[in-house]
């Protein structure tokens, strides 16, 4: 038994600390007479430690939101169909609205139109990004402080990502978008059923004053928008009723104007 020849498999098991105790003494005696093999086993152990040291820290990293979403109920086919549908819709809205805008451009009374353009842009952004499964945002909610600091810097205005848990939505993350007059911040929120709302925030020219809530519907996308001092906001969703979206818009407004 214990004087049977040492096998390579036993050597591996010994390196892993898994060799059955009855063979341990025989193997250690065998190694004692073979310094090169002993060195090899020692190297294997060092390698195992190096591997654990290198990759164990991944266990402590926050899990990206998209990995949780991979486990959302609902067949994948349907989700891809939804994505395709939204992309088509987004493009269609863009084409139709762009064309209409082109047609009816010149005599533009200021604030109302500026806001309507914003609502239109926000609806397109919503239709483009909210169905995205893989990369819904550039920076996830796990790095919220970084996200807000980054977007604030790019817009040149202090932003905040409102906390909407009270109305059932949590932050997914955000991204930077190009706007008509500069960078735009785009925050995405999601409820536990997977319904998403997006908040489009842009800086406003000083001439634009505060406005009340306004409502627009672009295709399937409902938008509440308003201008508050130096920032314009548009809150969009396709899957939420007007009343419910209004509640969320109110919550956003309250949060930003405590």
């Amino acid at each position: 038994m214990s004087d049977a020849p040492v096998t390579e498999a036993e050597l591996q098991a010994y390196a892993d600390g898994r060799l059955e105790p009855s063979r341990r003494a025989a193997l250690e005696a065998w190694l004692a007479a073979r310094p090169e093999e002993a060195e090899r086993v020692a190297d294997y152990r060092r390698l195992a430690e190096a591997l654990r040291g290198a990759y164990d820290p991944v266990l402590e990293e926050p899990v990206p939101e998209r990995l949780h979403q991979a486990l959302r109920p609902g067949p994948r086919l349907k989700r891809y169909a939804t994505v395709a549908g939204w992309l088509v819709l987004g493009i269609a809205i863009g084409l139709v609205a762009g064309w209409q805008l082109h047609e009816s451009q010149p005599p533009a009374p200021q604030t109302a139109d500026v806001g309507a353009t914003m609502a239109h842009r926000a609806a397109i952004a919503h239709a483009t990004y909210s169905p995205e499964v893989r990369h819904p945002v550039e920076v996830g909610a796990d790095q919220e402080a970084h996200l807000v600091a980054w977007l604030s810097k790019r817009l040149g205005a202090p932003l905040r990502a409102p906390k909407l848990e009270a109305v059932g939505y949590s932050l997914v993350g955000g991204r930077l978008l190009p706007g008509d007059s500069g960078p735009v911040a785009h925050f995405m929120y999601q409820c536990n059923k997977g319904t998403r709302v997006t908040l489009y925030v842009r800086t406003e020219a000083a001439s634009n004053r505060e406005t009340a809530f306004r409502y627009a519907k672009e295709g399937n996308v409902r938008v509440f928008y308003w201008i508050d001092r130096k920032l314009g906001y548009a809150l969009s969703s396709a899957d939420v009723s007007k009343d419910d979206l209004f509640k969320v818009a109110n919550a956003v407004y309250q949060q930003l104007n405590p």
Partner: protein
């Protein structure tokens, strides 16, 4: 606890394994995402009461092998490609980078055995079941993987004797 919740709890371990396997963070998370989506779609194939962790690693191994197979032509070029400009890593980062590269050069079936044993601390029997290979094959792949990794990391080229060492 249902399967979805248990899968969520296992995500950090899947990410650790994937990071070791493919190195780059985004690619590793893509692999985890594909694994979770596939596992979720194939959940009816999972036998309740069996080891969900082992099953997920089986799925991940299959997804990875398929990806490697699909990407084979670029893999062949890898050695000839110039290094991308990167921040010079230091200390631990340097070691991690060397490990990433060394693991990337192992055949997928060898890295799977090595990482399941070393990172996941799976028994040889569990690895054999997860990868659907005989336990003798687990041992020989483990031996080959370690010897190659050792050679690459330590700059030695000691060839392991595969069967009996006298």
């Amino acid at each position: 606890m249902n399967e979805a919740q248990r899968m969520v709890e296992l995500i950090p371990r899947l990410r650790r394994y994937a990071r070791a396997l493919v190195g780059d963070r985004a690619t590793a998370d893509d692999l985890v995402q594909d694994t979770l989506e596939r596992a979720w779609a194939k959940l009816h194939l999972y036998r309740r009461g069996t080891d969900l962790r082992a099953w997920l690693f089986t799925v991940m191994h299959n997804v990875h092998v398929n990806r490697v197979r699909a990407a084979r032509p670029t893999d062949m070029l890898e050695d000839e490609m110039p290094e991308l400009a990167q921040r010079a890593p230091q200390g631990d980062a340097l070691l991690v980078r060397d490990l990433d590269r060394a693991i990337a050069r192992l055949p997928a079936e060898q890295s799977a055995v090595l990482l399941l044993v070393t990172l996941e601390d799976m028994s040889y029997e569990e690895v054999a079941r997860a990868l659907d290979i005989p336990i003798g094959t687990v041992m020989s792949r483990l031996s080959r993987a370690r010897e190659k990794l050792r050679g690459m990391m330590l700059g030695q080229s000691a060839a392991a004797k595969l069967k009996l060492v006298r």
